[in-house]
Symmetry: C2
């Protein structure tokens, strides 16, 4: 094990590399890298050089994922996957996704040509944010065989399809099936910034993700009666805005009742939306997330009942539309235990938590055992140029990762998995 000063140096280097990648952008003056853009090619060149220097053989699969394979002690040994995504949102920070790839490369570097009983494949996913095609996880879906024709035919704002974008990058859509996880893939581990305020509020540097919350998205429309704000007495109103307000507070009240439950009304549209007219119609979004599918669905249904009750009491009606019902995903308990042990050995406090946001790990977990490690995010700020991580927290994550690789290399249970693979 390296001493802590050396690890701090590596952490500084990880952060410097993330900042360097942030300067590779398709939008001068801010960071933006979408699926298979010219900026992405330059990003792959730079990250690919780092991978090669660390002893990995580099390739780009037909879904545009950057893959660096660092060999095992023995040929024919299975592989452990480490990585995250290299695409960004518009006006992005430097760490969302990128940190997980750069940190994985750095972990391979710490091996300094020492070989483990398994190979390590570092993956930089080509697409996770859904910016260019309005559909996320193009990279990780290819790994799990879920990059179907429907998705391949989706077009961006300029009418270019995913398929054509792949061809334009010099890749072959026909080879996408070869991007799928090979049978020797043991597990997937993703480091990622938390993108939320929980670890910071607990003053804990690292989080072990237990699962990724399921998500229900819906649209509720209260239908009242538009009327003159001056001539309609309070008692004769059917005010869709007031009904909506009552329901928004009910959403908040119900969500606060259960640990880990979040429910949000983030979007609102009133009609006619004029200062001197009582709103006749108000449309609201609802976003409910929890690690328990049944609690999430029960909550969304209860909120629909409450909307009905509020509408009925006020002489309005309400319409509900369900837009998304995505089940929760669990992380692998064995890997979670291993991460916890590594953190303890690194002298680092960890917190087990549910990820409210979706990640590549959510997709990959459907195919192989998967785990995620969150890094504390100052201010919970993400998807913004001021996104940051501290050197200390990156050092803790590095140390934890190094111990984890050593542990897995020596773990009898992990060996059994290797035999199965």
């Amino acid at each position: 094990m390296e001493h802590s000063a050396a690890i701090a140096d590596r952490a500084e280097k990880v952060i410097a590399r993330c900042k360097r990648l942030a300067s590779i952008t398709e939008t001068p003056g801010s960071t933006c890298r979408t699926f298979l853009s010219i900026a992405m090619r330059e990003c792959y060149r730079v990250v690919g050089d780092w991978m090669e220097a660390a002893g990995a053989s580099v390739s780009i699969d037909a879904a545009g994922n950057l893959r660096g394979l660092y060999p095992a002690a023995d040929t024919g040994a299975p592989r452990l996957l480490l990585g995250s995504h290299l695409d960004t949102v518009p006006d992005a920070g430097a760490y969302d996704g990128v940190l997980g790839v750069v940190l994985a490369v750095s972990l391979v570097e710490t091996l300094e040509d020492r070989k483990l009983p398994f190979a390590i494949e570092v993956i930089g996913f080509s697409e996770e944010e859904g910016v260019r095609f309005g559909a996320p996880f193009i990279g990780s879906r290819a790994l799990t065989g879920k990059l179907d024709d429907e998705l391949l035919n989706r077009t961006d704002a300029k009418g270019v399809s995913v398929r054509t974008a792949i061809e334009n990058f010099g890749l072959k859509p026909a080879d996408i099936s070869q991007a799928a996880l090979s049978n020797d893939s043991l597990a997937y581990l993703e480091f990622h910034i938390e993108q939320g305020p929980v670890l910071e509020s607990l003053r804990i540097p690292l989080g072990i993700v237990e699962g990724i919350a399921g998500q229900t998205r819906g649209e509720f429309t209260f239908l009242g009666r538009a009327n003159h704000a001056g001539t309609t007495p309070m008692t004769l109103r059917h005010d869709a805005m007031a009904a909506a307000a009552e329901w928004i507070l009910e959403v908040e009240r119900v969500a606060k009742m259960e640990k880990g439950l979040v429910a949000t009304v983030g979007r609102i549209a009133a009609t006619p939306n004029a200062a001197n007219v009582i709103a006749g119609q108000v449309q609201l979004s609802l976003d409910v997330r929890h690690s328990s599918n049944s609690l999430r669905i029960r909550t969304a249904d209860f909120l629909a009942v409450q909307a009905e009750e509020i509408a009925h009491r006020r002489g309005l009606t309400v319409q509900r539309k369900t837009l998304l019902n995505q089940p929760a995903v669990s992380m692998d308990p064995f890997l979670m235990g291993q991460i916890e042990q590594a953190a303890v050995n690194a002298g680092c406090a960890v917190h087990r938590m549910v990820s409210g946001a979706g990640h590549d790990a959510m997709i990959v977990a459907g195919t192989i055992p998967t785990a995620m490690i969150f890094l504390r995010t100052p201010g919970g700020v993400s998807h913004h140029p001021s996104e940051s991580v501290s050197v200390d927290d990156v050092a803790k994550a590095m140390e934890c990762g190094m111990l984890l690789l050593t542990q897995l290399g020596g773990s009898a249970e992990f060996q059994k998995r290797m035999v199965r693979a």
Copy 2:
């Protein structure tokens, strides 16, 4: 006094005339007549013909108001003004404003050349709705000497000023001062549909307007923190949407506490207004109206304090902007009494009420004694093609108006006013 069948016939004719005027429009397929448009010229031709046939001499003043003067028994006698506005909102109904003018013409017709101790001037105001120039009451402001240069220089969507519109209609802006009320103007009486649900809910055909509510308009902006709807626990949120919702309900609660008070949040704009992002900012309109200026101002101030309290408790801030502070206007008590007596004599129940909406009477009341009579509005529906009035209610209004003219002609107190004039 005519018998009731004759009055019903006149009421039918009034409604038919309103419907005919609704067909004179600048927007084929729906009713829209804005200030001094080509449709307005045709409307003036038709209404002017009716005025002349009833024995009035017709003119158009320099602010575009159509004026028909029916002489008194003696030359040199002062005049009573009757009227309302002839312009409309887009996609209008047939009665808002128009009914008051047509009904006034019909009242003059019932005199059948019988002369009263005062002349009757029927006014069809050129502009009340504020559609073309975004500023209402152009017609009645000219009568009270308040059509100033600022208003004359306002431009419509095509860059045409009020002044140029007047010239284009063949009128002389330099003559606007001659449109002002002459010293022999005794009083102004306006019939108008209620445009609200109060009379219908009370099952009463006519309302005597006691005053026109003062109006406070403001804008409140709650500033919280935009954040990820999935990764931000309920307890760590600064949700501008939830704060806004709490305040909207507070606005409703406070308004319900005082009779006649109305307070409305009709407009809302959330930022970033995305389903998966906690709102960082929500901007809301506030419209407060009451006949008591002090209660209205106290209410708006109290709601600002409540907004502060809600924001503070939730870790947000709130900004207040006052956009309008328009004092309430009282109608003339003597005229109100005379209307009530006429209604009693007509066997018609009346209800004294405050107008929550602005009307030409609000402007004219600043200069001469003014009164308004409201007609029940089915469903409270106005500013909509389905706006309507019943023949019975129009007949009641006619009967009440006829009795009122006779009363005023014989009233000792009104005679005193005539002497003063």
